[in-house]
Symmetry: C2
Subunit: 348 residues, 2 copies
Amino acid sequence: MFDNKEKTNIESLGEFGLIDYLTKNIKISQKSTVKGVGDDAAVLDFDGKKTLVSTDMLLEGIHFDLAYTPLKHLGYKAIQVNLSDIYAMNGIASQVTVSIGISSKFPLEAVEELYEGIYLACEKYNVDLVGGDTSSSKQGLVISVTSIGYADEKDVVYRSGAEEGDLICVSGDLGGAYTGLQLLEREKLVYLENPNIQPDLEGKDYIVERQLKPEARRDIIELLKSIEVKPTAMIDVSDGLASEILHICKQSNKGCNLYEDKIPLDPMTYETAREFNLDPTVCALSGGEDYELLFTVKQADYDKIKFKMDITIIGYITEPSAGCNLITKSGNLHPLKAQGWNAFKPAS
Amino acid sequence: MFDNKEKTNIESLGEFGLIDYLTKNIKISQKSTVKGVGDDAAVLDFDGKKTLVSTDMLLEGIHFDLAYTPLKHLGYKAIQVNLSDIYAMNGIASQVTVSIGISSKFPLEAVEELYEGIYLACEKYNVDLVGGDTSSSKQGLVISVTSIGYADEKDVVYRSGAEEGDLICVSGDLGGAYTGLQLLEREKLVYLENPNIQPDLEGKDYIVERQLKPEARRDIIELLKSIEVKPTAMIDVSDGLASEILHICKQSNKGCNLYEDKIPLDPMTYETAREFNLDPTVCALSGGEDYELLFTVKQADYDKIKFKMDITIIGYITEPSAGCNLITKSGNLHPLKAQGWNAFKPAS
């Protein structure tokens, strides 16, 4: 993928040189960041608030394919995926640490591109990069991100707070990241068969972007705060709607009914799923990587959210003995199963 | 290395099954841990103290070799390496997150062994495991640890606080981890040539343990607190004494004189270095992985530390224009160079 001519080999910089190079333009914007990169540990001060910590690891060949993932997008996504977990606690993300393992043969320009995406995400979401580790890897690119955030005790939302009768809501639309991935995988195969054929992604920008450049839904957290709705339970959609609602129901010890015809799908997702002979509903239920927020609210909050463009009510919480069900378009009731993305059984 | 007969394949558990399995016995011991594993993020409460965050990534083939690293030791070391950074800020470590990438063909029993070491370290150092990520890896074992700790503002020690005339101190002894590694590498080669020959590590327990099972120096932090000595600057020795003192001098904008004959070496380190035709001083200066604490104290504190068995005074801080020097046993002055371990130029 990279043309190594006239590129700077990172081996020549060494670890400290590389870290200096990559962190020289860091700007600190968070009041809670007392000391960022450059000592044994970052020093943070949350002034009486609850601290939130989340971590994710992205591995080449498992979570991303450099054949069709621009490094800048990858850096951006690595941060988003992590911030999404902080927002899913109804918190505000404030700091991240980033550790990368890269082949020493990787050109410096490629590492820079990766960090451009990382810095872009940090800037846009107003988080400080406060630490990390940079190491050679014999095993492809590895990115590990830990995000730190905060919330007032009264604001923290767990997965376990859903009550019977609560409305199940989801932000944005689902299944797009998965259908985008199908497209990218198809075009990769076409390219491998004939490198002269240009990828045909025309008119598919939205779902390709859903896959390559997801946005964590900080805006939804802000929206809910502004209309004074505190979810009773919340989780982000990383493994697919089915898997996530099952997490909420399991941890809240409740059941649920989801309505298939309420699940928000973008027309492009629908159309592309059909092209691939996939059931669009299954793409939403089991596709994953949409990084939308799935949450439950009290029925009393219905009026506050019913006309919010970017929030869809897709079902309600039931007593645990009723189980977790999907009510299909034809009115049948199907038990939900977590067939979500399994990190130990990569789809491709 | 592993006999796969009668072992449980982790693929059969899936990601959530594996996480449940590995975290089912977690005990929370820290008051600051409000919510640990099991939601989108951990929730911590530091009650007005400064929060410390540090992260490290360990990659198979770069940082460890499974040919001679028992998985339990590896898990233990992965935690120690990270806690060491929190202690180097004069803080108390309280939580860790652990992300691992492992081949899906790895037997469950092997993952369990790794976590046994992780849990053992957490228990011994009184830290809570509060989150993580578990993923398949196509490319060998990857471990990423983030540790979180706390300190009162007045107690935090940075690398940048050294003043002219301060005494340079180091805990324990140096060079052992590196000579231990040489031994392990030699025995690996012997074994590869003739698998019937048993490794000959007799009488070398100490340095082998220094390499495979380092201990972060929480005890030194506690000792310094008990004798009311606050270091002016501190760093942990992960890359070798030379590299670390240069970090302190650079960030404090000072110089230093280190005395070769003061550098603490265990007799076994000395003897083994000689066996390998290595200069024992170079092993201490550039070997790394000793995870001792290197710190500077005011001269006024001399009486408090001079008889502490586990602390050695090895030099003093000078004005920056004097440079960073090693005074050799023969009285010559050599400029110190960071030839420490370079993650992009693996020694073996």
